[in-house]
Symmetry: C2
Subunit: 416 residues, 2 copies
């Protein structure tokens, strides 16, 4: 079987684990995600890797190196998805890592440094509103008492979700590897944006990752009868939320030169009914930029809008910051390695920033980190229509393989 | 026991049937509403009324008159509520009717005409998006094949809800009494608006009922990643919905001289997540006016806004009209009777229109109909804070009693 067919079967296999009818739904710590992670763990074991699940549910597979005690070269991404996701976000990076291992095994390559492959737990914020939980735990940056009680849409807390996976939330700190230093960390990921496709590039060498600030806003007005409450006597929470969403859009458009984006991705009307003026609405706000200053201008505009709405609509607005991440710069040393490989292989590449957060942004704490993008069709992601060409993924895997080998150092090729 | 204490106990008794922790939740065809209706039926039986439940779940209690075959004088309102409702909307009218019957029994009054008391089923649209189902069925105006498949927020169809109440939806036509003519129909109801309180009036004599037009709008954009989709490449369905909601508000404010109101009471984001640009949003729109022309101008503005949004945001909008009612004028003969009683009793009153729909608007098909309002504190309704003073309710009951007696004609007072 050639590498291409083998890889396609691996990716298809992973996407069998799916709770949804439309697209892929493999939510963090769900039955589908757990079964998938455990199946993937067995696949790693079949490649003679040492496998373990840490106390946060991260799957770690290790291929020993020749020289004792050298720091590992690590590949990783995630297997969890948003609701009604595509087949590529996260899954590409994890399966690419296993394909690299298979190639090394096929070629009988032994490296000086050990190589690890990690499937990080709960990268997506879809379930609990917080992202990259597994890699945060690995670098010892979990806000344990805040995370413990976060609830999903069914009211299940993170602590409870852990226990359903036979994980003890109280032990989450033990997932930390912050005393270790990795030789290098590589994440191959789909771009999830339109830039590579538009510019006909095959590889994006990521220089920095945008930082997100996230809010939960509760707008509290007065619910009243839709037929008998004159327009000028209403305290309509939904209209307040609508104004906030549109003001955020306007503010982000003003910051277009910085690539700053702002989104209201969730909006819930409490006790909504056709004949009731909405009395309480909750929205979740996500603002991202690679420029802290630009992001702050959008946040300032948000707060200005909120105070205008409080005055104009006589509503109350409660705000809670649930995430405030700092932009991250990636390793220029690893960028150079990846660039040289692209040049050598004659693969069109560009340097770019990442608008999405990734586990890589935490892994910088443990060593030099590289994030490598491949094109996404029409830039669509978090959507069943998400697509990356198999040829593009295989180009990415070639580059990943060579970069890992350069870092892990090959001194021996055994007979196979 | 005096009438005041007796009546308060009756109303309190009804409000024990409650599924909610905040306010009263007694949704149509729910366990709470059914138990309440059946308990109320037993209370009517205890007052020597003939009782029956029709094929739509309307509870009908009848006190025979002295002369055979005379048409009935009917009192009625509803026992179902919205989610997190108050204690007065609907319940006041039904319990007032029973209090009137108790008074007649106490006084040994026999009327020429029979008197009926009806607790209409499913007056509120909170569950299925359609209102006054019971009174519509009674006047033979049910769109059976449309209603059958309407779903509540848990996906339960109206047909299924009927079957859980041991009602056969296929028999709903048998609830029709359109071959009958009532002598008169009276509904006592809380105003649910601020006018009586503001003007220090105790009774509102309703001249006409505003007509509602209702839409379900589905805005379909493209869900995509909130971090990687530039603002100018988004097809954000939620922002489209936000613009529609705000445009409706603006259009209704323009029509303020007609008392026209427009509301988006429900908004659902499909597969909403903090890091996903919303791809599909459904909203429910309710527009009401006593002026058909004014209402139409708001509807026209709605459609103009929709086409602007389709162009601007590259989204698709599907619209469905789920209700289109005509304004109703009430009986001037009964208005005069009520007015004269107010004058005689020296109770401050005014004529007014109703912004809310009521079962009365259907009952005009069966005979002269009167709708009598009592004040609502601060005009708040469909809200746990809904309040009407007991003294005001008792004034309303006095007027209801006398109006019913005038129409039903008293020729005999037996010893008690």
């Amino acid at each position: 079987m050639n590498d291409k067919k083998r890889y396609k079967e691996l990716l298809d296999n992973i996407n069998q684990y799916n709770a949804g009818e439309i697209g892929i739904t493999r939510i963090a710590y769900s039955n589908e995600e757990q079964t998938c992670t455990h199946a993937f763990m067995r696949m790693c074991k079949a490649e003679n890797m040492e496998i373990r699940l840490d106390d946060c549910g991260n799957m770690i597979a290790r291929r020993e190196g020749k020289i004792a005690d050298l720091p590992p070269v690590v590949m990783g991404s995630h297997l969890d998805t948003v609701y009604q996701a595509g087949k590529y976000d996260g899954a590409v990076g994890v399966t690419a890592g296993l394909e690299v291992i298979k190639r090394l095994n096929d070629k009988g390559i032994v490296t000086d440094h050990p190589i690890e492959l990690i499937a990080f737990a709960c990268e997506e914020s879809a379930r609990f509103g917080v992202s990259t939980v597994g890699s945060k735990a690995m670098v010892g940056k979990i806000n344990k008492e805040m995370y413990r009680y976060l609830k999903d849409r069914n009211g299940i807390t993170m602590e409870k979700a852990f226990s359903l996976c036979a994980l003890d939330f109280n032990s989450i700190d033990q997932a930390s590897r912050k005393e270790e230093t990795f030789k290098a960390f590589f994440e191959l990921h789909i771009e999830q944006g339109p830039i590579l496709e538009n510019e006909k590039k095959k590889i994006g060498i990521v220089t920095g990752i945008a930082a997100a600030v996230r809010f939960i806003l509760k707008i509290i007005g007065t619910s009243s009868h839709s037929g008998t409450t004159p327009m000028n006597m209403r305290k309509d929470a939904l209209l307040g939320a609508a104004e906030i969403a549109l003001a955020l859009e306007e503010a982000a458009i003003q910051e277009r030169e910085y690539g700053t984006v702002a989104t209201v991705g969730e909006l819930d009307v409490y006790s909504g009914a056709m004949n009731v003026v909405p009395g309480e609405v909750q929205i979740k706000v996500d603002i991202r930029s690679t420029s802290i200053e630009s992001r702050q201008r959008v946040v300032d505009h948000l707060y200005k809008t909120i105070s205008q709405i409080i005055n104009k609509r006589q509503v109350e607005v409660k705000d809670k910051v649930i995430g405030m991440e700092a932009p991250v710069n990636l390793s220029s040393e690893l960028m150079d390695i990846v660039e040289q490989i692209c040049v050598k292989k004659d693969i069109a590449y560009r340097h770019m920033q990442s608008g999405a957060g990734h586990d890589s942004m935490n892994m910088v704490e443990l060593g030099p980190t590289a994030l490598i993008f491949i094109p996404s069709k029409e830039g669509i992601s978090h959507n069943p229509k998400e697509h990356s060409d198999l040829e593009d993924i295989l180009d990415g895997i070639d580059i990943l393989e060579e970069a890992v080998l350069q870092c892990a150092k090959v001194t021996t090729i055994t007979d196979v």
